[in-house]
């Protein structure tokens, strides 16, 4: 049966070639949009790792200019204490400018037993960091006051980095080397992954260093956890507290809830635009397909009439036409899948293979459905052909 249908298609290869190309290109477009969509959705389903509501970030520049390290430390400690003393503030702490949803990146390399691990995000944060964000420690501990004392260098790594460097094994107490391999750094804790780039982008390898007193000079951000419902009036007070201490600074207070909207837009806006354009292309293709199939069937009235005359049922006629369209679609999909499979094989764009496979299956399903819907109505039309009328025309 299939062999026979194949022959029918092959006989009209010239006519079917364009249809085939059209389905092929639609498939590739759909595959691309679906990959993007599946990738974003998979990321969206993962937990955020932190609570970002009611967390504000204060950005300041030109920190205090003093050459005396002790007085700088004293100054910032006092400032932090003043902020914490404000009525609505629950926690406060300094951090580097790559706080969650900031869009800023700072990355560096590590090595473990001679194996290089590149592109590790480096975060600097002080003692209150995990309390402010309510981040979860999986193993070991976060920094404490004792870590300010001189001693061996320590780090907290995130789950992704742990999996890359130690696999399933124990991480606490082991040593990683910094870029170049000169310095040994002891792992004291593993923190859960945080989706730094918003809801729709994946987590990445990350390491957290304690923001020590020497770093105050080039640090420009303070994160503040406030009580729910803190309003602009309180924010104004917080602002005044900051500017009274940092007289030479430009100060800006932002809310993490606003920041996440912005970083999400970076993924969502292209996805929405791509979906709209793809939808339009698909409507276009569907209408075209419908038209062409309809026309083909009206041209084959003679053939259909003959089949009906020798006893084929209406259903088997419409079934044949639908099956023909589906076989045609299968050709396109085979060629299309050949190209699509190259993406996970060659690891283009660095997305997980699973994303491509799901997208591929979804796209195939989608194209089959599309072709089926477009072929059903013309198929029904064909089933309604009366043999006497059709054969009479010739």
């Amino acid at each position: 049966m299939v062999k026979h249908l194949f022959k029918l298609i092959w006989n009209k290869k010239k006519q079917n070639f364009l249809l085939l190309t059209e389905i092929l290109i639609s498939f590739i477009v759909i595959f691309a949009v679906f990959s993007f969509g599946v990738f974003s959705y998979k990321n969206y389903m993962k937990p955020m790792g932190i609570d970002y509501e009611d967390v504000w970030v204060i950005n300041y520049n030109n920190p205090a200019n003093s050459t005396n390290a002790d007085s700088v430390t004293l100054f910032y400690e006092t400032l932090k204490r003043n902020v914490k003393a404000l009525p609505n503030v629950i926690e406060a702490g300094y951090c580097s400018n790559n706080f969650p949803f900031s869009g800023n990146m700072m990355s560096s390399g590590l090595s473990y037993q001679g194996k290089a691990i590149s592109n590790v995000n480096q975060f600097n944060a002080d003692l209150d960091y995990i309390k402010i964000l309510n981040a979860k420690m999986l193993e070991g501990r976060w920094y404490t006051k004792d870590d300010y004392l001189p001693g061996e260098r320590k780090m907290v790594i995130n789950k992704s980095l742990k999996e890359v460097s130690f696999g399933k094994g124990q991480a606490i107490g082991k040593y990683l080397h910094n870029y170049g391999g000169k310095e040994k750094i002891k792992v004291i804790g593993v923190i859960d992954d945080i989706k730094f780039n918003g809801d729709f982008l994946p987590t990445a390898k990350g390491m957290y260093y304690l923001l020590d007193t020497a770093a105050y000079k080039w640090t420009g951000n303070m994160m503040v956890k406030v009580k729910p419902g803190s309003d602009a009036a309180f924010e104004g007070k917080l602002y005044k507290t900051m500017i009274n201490s940092l007289k030479n600074s430009n100060i800006e207070i932002k809310h993490l809830t606003d920041k996440i909207v912005n970083v999400n837009k970076i993924t969502l806006v292209p996805l929405i635009i791509a979906s709209i354009i793809a939808a339009f292309l698909i409507i276009n293709v569907a209408l075209g397909l419908f038209g062409v199939l309809w026309y083909n069937i009206s041209k084959r009235r003679g053939e259909i009439g003959l089949r009906r005359a020798v006893g084929a049922s209406g259903n088997s006629v419409s079934g044949q036409l639908v099956a023909e369209s589906l076989i045609l679609a299968t050709f396109s999909l085979l060629i299309g899948s050949f190209f699509a499979v190259q993406f996970p094989l060659l690891n283009v764009f660095d997305l997980p293979a699973m994303v491509y496979i799901i997208a591929l299956l979804l796209a195939m399903l989608f194209i089959y459905l599309l072709v089926l819907i477009c072929a059903l109505y013309p198929g029904r039309q064909a089933a309604n052909i009366y043999p006497a009328v059709a054969l009479h025309e010739e």
């Binding site: 006519q15 364009l18 249809l19 190309t21 059209e22 290109i25 639609s26 477009v29 950005n59 520049n61 030109n62 309003d231 602009a232 009036a233 924010e235 104004g236 602002y239 005044k240 500017i243 030479n248 600074s249 430009n250 100060i251 800006e252 207070i253 932002k254 354009i277 339009f280 292309l281 409507i283 276009n284 293709v285 209408l287 075209g288 038209g291 062409v292 309809w294 026309y295 041209k299």
Partner: protein, 409 residues
């Protein structure tokens, strides 16, 4: 002759309304997408508010120093721009400004986010902002480090209320400092990141010290030549000067700095090996191809179908001696007519969707409009579409055998 073709075309279009609808839908929607994209790009690239002297200007956004293992890129310092860029003779004016940064101000327990930009006096002379009130601050005021400011219309509305009267001479508080307003300008959309800001301040009142001798700093520069003809000369002089700039540190062996035309500066990626222009063009062309190829294939498909329907007509015409060329010509014209009708619908749809986009205010102050460039593009796209989707079916048709064509019915 043409009139006849036109009549036939209309008759054919009316005969099979469904096919006509499919064709028109494909053409008009594709054109709408392309035109909205074109309008957007045109706005980003060609909008000349406030830099109307763009053709006479060169833009310098930053410098990059490279060594074997290190790389350092940033905007320019005051020292760098007065010492090196200030040394060339061709430019008649040099504007510099910081990129816009954010701060907050709080009035009546309400928070207003403000972006601020530090500029010099020639910034106001090179860039022609529309002053709704007052005027720019002067060199005298900058030299005296007076706390004066020019604010945007949007900020005026947010700070003083929508129906506030004239505000020149009043004070506005930003960053805990009170500035006297000397002028109000028409707002710039945030996509014009070189010029966008809510308040513009004299660079001398900047809280950070701008007097150190580093190369890196907060400023970017616009150089203005006396005339359009002087621009290449200015660029040459700049490049010669740039070659002589010593490295700021021993670890570097290359210093890259460019004085670009507006377009070049807009697409510069910071990658010295490949120009951003190539990336931009590749991206645009592949987008265009993707959006047009499917509808075109669709049209080709439909057109073939339609032509084959008319095989008896073609057979008769051929039998009476019409050459293949005449038939191809006729069919292409028919197709062009169809495409142009689709084009007109496309323009109407574009106007509607642009209006919707503008009304939705996705980006504040960004008003997209159909201008003549975009219309011209659309026209070219129509012709392109008509030819592309008409030539192959017409060729297929002209090769029909007379006898088979006549026998088919």
């Amino acid at each position: 002759m043409l009139k006849n073709y036109f009549k036939i075309a209309i008759a054919v279009l009316k005969r099979r309304k469904f096919f006509t609808f499919i064709s028109l839908f494909g053409i008009s929607f594709t054109l709408t997408i392309l035109m909205v994209t074109a309008a957007f790009i045109d706005k980003l690239v060609n909008d000349n508010y406030p830099d109307r002297k763009r053709e006479r200007s060169l833009y310098i956004s930053g410098l990059e120093q490279r060594g074997k293992e290190s790389m350092n890129g940033s905007s320019l310092s005051y020292y760098f721009l007065t010492h090196f860029i200030g040394s060339i003779k061709t430019p008649v004016k040099m504007a510099f400004s910081t990129s816009s940064d954010g701060t907050n101000t709080y009035i009546n327990d309400k928070k207003i986010a403000i972006s601020y930009k530090y500029v010099n006096n020639e910034y106001w002379e090179i860039l022609e902002y529309d002053f709704l009130e007052g005027k720019a601050f002067t060199k005298q005021q900058i030299d005296n480090a007076e706390r004066v400011t020019v604010i945007s219309d949007d900020l005026k509305k947010a700070y003083f209320g929508v129906d506030a009267g004239p505000v020149v001479g009043k004070y506005i508080e930003a960053d805990n400092v009170k500035y006297r307003i000397s002028g109000v300008v028409k707002s710039v959309p945030s996509t014009a990141h070189k010029f966008f800001s809510d308040i513009y301040l004299p660079y001398t009142v900047s809280k950070s010290s701008y007097k150190n001798k580093d190369y890196g700093g907060p400023f970017s520069v616009i150089l203005l030549a006396a005339s359009k003809e002087d621009v290449p000369k200015m660029k040459k002089e700049f490049d010669q000067m740039a070659k002589k700039i010593p490295m700021s540190d021993k670890q570097y062996d290359h210093l890259n700095i460019h004085a670009d035309s507006y377009l070049e500066s807009y697409v510069r990626t910071g990658n010295e090996q490949r120009s951003g222009m190539a990336y931009a063009i590749i991206a645009l062309v592949s987008f265009g191809l993707l959006v047009t190829i499917l509808p075109t294939l669709n049209l080709v498909n439909i057109n073939i179908t339609r032509i084959m329907e008319r095989s008896s007509e073609i057979g008769v015409r051929k039998a009476f001696g019409a050459s293949s060329k005449t038939l191809v010509y006729q069919f292409i014209i028919e197709n062009m007519i169809l495409t142009f009708i689709g084009g007109i619908i496309g323009v109407v749809l574009s106007v509607i969707s642009l209006k919707l986009i503008n009304d939705a205010q996705l980006i504040a102050n960004l008003n997209l409009g159909l201008n003549f460039t975009v219309l011209f593009c659309a026209l070219i796209m129509c012709v392109f579409f008509g030819l592309l989707s008409g030539v192959y079916p017409a060729w297929r048709m002209s090769r029909l055998n007379v006898v088979t064509a006549l026998k088919a019915q």
